[in-house]
Symmetry: D2
Subunit: 349 residues, 4 copies
């Protein structure tokens, strides 16, 4: 950290800062400039976090220099990680397609959606049994009955299951059915849930908060990691901006930035960011091209009667085009579409 | 709702929309314009929510006309509500000061902060025992030990207690100590928590999500209300914008807007919005002047060693100025500072 | 400035930074930490601005420490300035009301609006002859004919005139009629216009860009100041956020922040921020209470037929309430309503 | 437009709306619902724009249904346009690379950058002679001397020139040297400049305002088009959000959205959105993959001493990779890299 002193700060003000830092077990280097003096702090950033340096007399600003996350940082873990979900890898060299219905409604609908997904090249099945909805009057999901349907469809198709958990006390239940726990954008700072997911023994798909900075997203991952689980996949799903022509603004640059700051895999969600069917394929192409380790996409056999987010689900011809692009686009960025376990080796990066 | 047809929509497209609406039990009125046709939907908006009108052929847009919240709406409840917390009213005619430490640290610190708050005119004590922190390495609160301290300080000072709950399964515990449950900005869409709070038999202080629209805030209140609890106080605490000179941007206009849309009381949090001590009093004045039903403010006997948000806690001379302004400013907007139970009647609005 | 080196930066990388800074005539202090090294730069920040420090090997970040503006900064000009417009002061100790029609339409409408404004306590008349409109199909203003009407109304009422200029090459013309030049939010980074206004010999009312940071706003003022004109009044008029219930989000905290960073007066525009009539008085109260040096408000004798922004113009009873609050509220914040030249002395701050 | 009446609106209120619309020459259709009544307006939207419907008694909301832009809309011009710049096409079927230095500094630097650009596949040269800079102390460009350098380099390389104009009164001068006029993000609502550019007889490259909605961007294009110039290319260059890890947030979804709403070509600027060299290639890939009609990229022979935006300029190996991706990626989205005039035919879409 760097403490910036005000132009009129006195020697006593500067000494007070140095003294407080040293008392906390750190070292402080004073650089006196023509206009102002700065104090560089050396030591463990956690030591200084609880000091109220900003409130001291003569202090103008306190600038954090090093990242506040450790376990998920790439600084101490230079190689990018591969996370395996039911045997399916997500990480460098591959591009993994996760697809399925936004919400599990019936066994038939879920199976059909899974088969559509598989035909398009998906190796993981998504599907929601617990749905966080802005309105208490909207469909909230089937709960455990939905989890059972997902497990049956996994049996039928062989696709490992990714599904959302919305409350810390459901984590054990959901983990008993699912291969990967999804934590949604509205729970990106639900720390009790993050910690529970960190102890569940399942890989976690962690969506970025809709107004979360990349740093906050990595801090949320740090909450999971701190409980002993480093099998975390980050998912960029669009952020909230002033633009209303799309549901959210897909921040594609977040993919390379997060991959530079963290060793964790990063995927994108083109369905929930754009919020309309005609944007899903363009945003999927953008996500793959920018270098995402995977994409997660809504498909539905009958979008017009879907109970959740029907307007953005892919169907029919869209899926043939999806199949084509997840096959042809990844090689241009040094990747290969992930196929079912053991079928092919990833391209080396 | 209004369905807007594309310029090239055919009669068959229009008939399909009308037919779907009628099947769902509604009525549809078709208005044919020179350039385009619109279809007005009449009936219960809940009926239409699950129809995928937007995905139908020839449909350009679907515009919602009526508010999606009912119980908290002012449309069916014209008079503004008063919520009582341990006998202290929050609502029209009064201006209630809630103050106390950001986090409960020790019995002494909490008692001192409570006495400072009371001397400044506060009739409710705030203080956090469960703290949601962006970093897993930051102080997370004392938990139940903190709740006990708050209860002791209530005993000593007579101030009813407002404290945060961060997980659905702590609601019962927190409610057994607190007079009012606070739900923080990071949990503004933690629906399991909102529902649990709705069943706890305590008034709820509901902070706006840091990127939540006013409508989403009212929908969150609707989640609480739907479980039978209408004793909800809304709290504007600043929203996330591109401006970085302040921690958040206090959206003062949200106060009159929310008061027009909902019958619930609306207060402001000048401490967490500005994020620095020198902004707390100016923002408190702005909040009272804009017409808030109360303000909630951090005070701390020793901000320089506070474990949480020290830089924004008021101390010493700030508190005398706070006492002056909560006494002098409310009468200019037709209000009177709330005093301890039975001491004075509110000014009629 | 502080240059933050990457954890793996070599001694040669550090020496290269130091050497580049010294070549540019500055001094560099190296602080070696356990995890990383920082280099503090001492000297004139303008020297370093053109160095590509961020692009050097081993450099992680470059953090600017001192403000990039000089002439408008409070660092070298501790006392807050008073700007006089046709003899009317704007600055500490007073609260100046500027009011009038959004657009000048006819001599009668302008005169009536001016008289309404004056009756409410205004000492300056606002009114637009050149209107920047998002749509080329909207009313663009009367141009010079509008300026003549404003001059006639000034003659009749004695109110000095504030009016907008939208193009550098109209500055001379507008300055020949107006007492103060307004630069609108859409031109907040129209540098040619800012420079021309800096040379026009008239005070300037500078609105904040709708997505401009406080720093960018002060940099825009620096453009005016650099051409020799320090008679600048800053105007907060709402920023663009995700919230759509209001036209813009009035950032009241920007007032004390800008007053701390700059010696220039700061006023607020409650009409254009809220965008609806029922928000104008609440936001005016908030603006005065937060400590603004003035407010600028739209009034119109017949809002229902106004050619521009009618929905937000005050009329009738609103104006009596406005008169009351601009008289009663300022004393609570140590100010007095500005009255016509020589009529009263401001309250000392 | 649709006028939404309040639940308590009377028949007289409804009749007043209908009557006002009819007086303005339109037709109004009344749809009476259980809870509220809506009035659909039929006729030319321009007629209704100046009516203060929102201010009438009993009116809750006025919802605009059709687009406010006409000439640039795709509704009346279904086929996507091709804009030719000095013979080089930008539009469907091709992907045009525009590259060059951010600022023209010297003849040598400009020529070298142009040759680097050409080697990478660029068919148009970018380069700034007039630079809009946030700070008055930053390099403002060489002005006409810079234009002459660009003209010389065009002579030498055959690359037509795209360059920015920042003031309406420089348009004629810039147009006398340039093949295409660029209007930057800070001038996206400088209407005098837009109109002057519409009369200059040169194609216009129109950047989106950094906080401009897609609709405002199209309205800015409408300003140009209204003066008789439909040779407009839209450029998405990143928008301002809360995220600070990147300079701006590249809104890739804006490309397909703008292409759906307008017939104009849409390109992206990966250099100014990300703001750092390591993001330029990933964002270029995303831009091409999402379906942009072109990309515009900063290159510089010596980024470490560049006078403007050096940190984001491509150099050396980056350029070889750029050459590879602009060749290999477009065919996957049904396009072909634009080559010098007459060299190849575009792929049909």
């Amino acid at each position: 950290m760097v403490v910036v002193m005000a132009p009129g700060a006195t020697e006593a003000d500067i000494r007070a800062v140095v003294s407080l830092v040293e008392t906390a077990g750190g070292d402080a280097f004073v650089s006196r400039g023509v206009e102002r003096t700065i104090v560089g702090l050396v030591g463990d950033v956690q030591q200084f976090g609880s000091l109220n340096l900003r409130g001291m007399r003569g202090v103008t600003d306190v600038v954090r220099i090093s990242a506040p996350y450790k376990l998920v940082s790439r600084e101490n873990h230079a190689e990018r990680s591969v996370v395996r979900v039911g045997g399916v890898p997500i990480g460098p060299g591959t591009m993994t397609l996760i697809a399925g219905p936004c919400a599990v409604e019936t066994p038939e609908q879920t199976l059909q959606a899974a088969q559509m997904a598989q035909a398009a090249g998906a190796t993981l099945l998504r599907g929601g049994a617990f749905k966080p909805r802005s309105s208490p009057y909207a469909f909230q999901g089937l709960g455990e009955a939905g989890l059972r349907i997902l497990a049956d469809v996994r049996e039928e198709t062989g696709l490992p299951v990714v599904t959302e958990v919305v409350d810390a006390h459901d984590v054990e239940l959901v983990a008993s059915y699912a291969d990967m726990l999804q934590i949604g954008t509205r729970n990106a700072q639900n720390f009790a849930l993050l910690q529970a997911a960190g102890e569940a023994g399942r890989p976690v798909l962690l969506k970025r908060g809709m107004s979360g900075t990349i740093e906050e997203w990595l801090m949320a991952a740090e909450y999971v990691a701190q409980r002993g689980n480093l099998d975390i996949v980050l998912c960029e799903r669009g952020i909230r901006t002033f633009e209303k022509a799309t549901r959210n603004t897909l921040d594609v640059a977040a993919v390379p930035v997060a991959q530079r700051l963290s060793h964790l895999p990063v995927i994108v969600d083109p369905s929930h960011s754009g919020g309309s069917r005609d944007l899903v394929l363009p945003l999927t192409r953008a996500g793959i091209a920018v270098g995402a380790d995977g994409v997660i996409i809504d498909v539905h056999p009958h979008p017009e009667t879907a109970l959740c987010d029907g307007p953005q689900a892919l169907v029919d011809g869209d899926l043939r085009e999806l199949a084509r692009l997840v096959r042809d686009l990844p090689p241009l960025v040094g990747r290969r579409l992930t196929v079912a376990e053991g079928d092919a080796a990833p391209v080396p990066v």
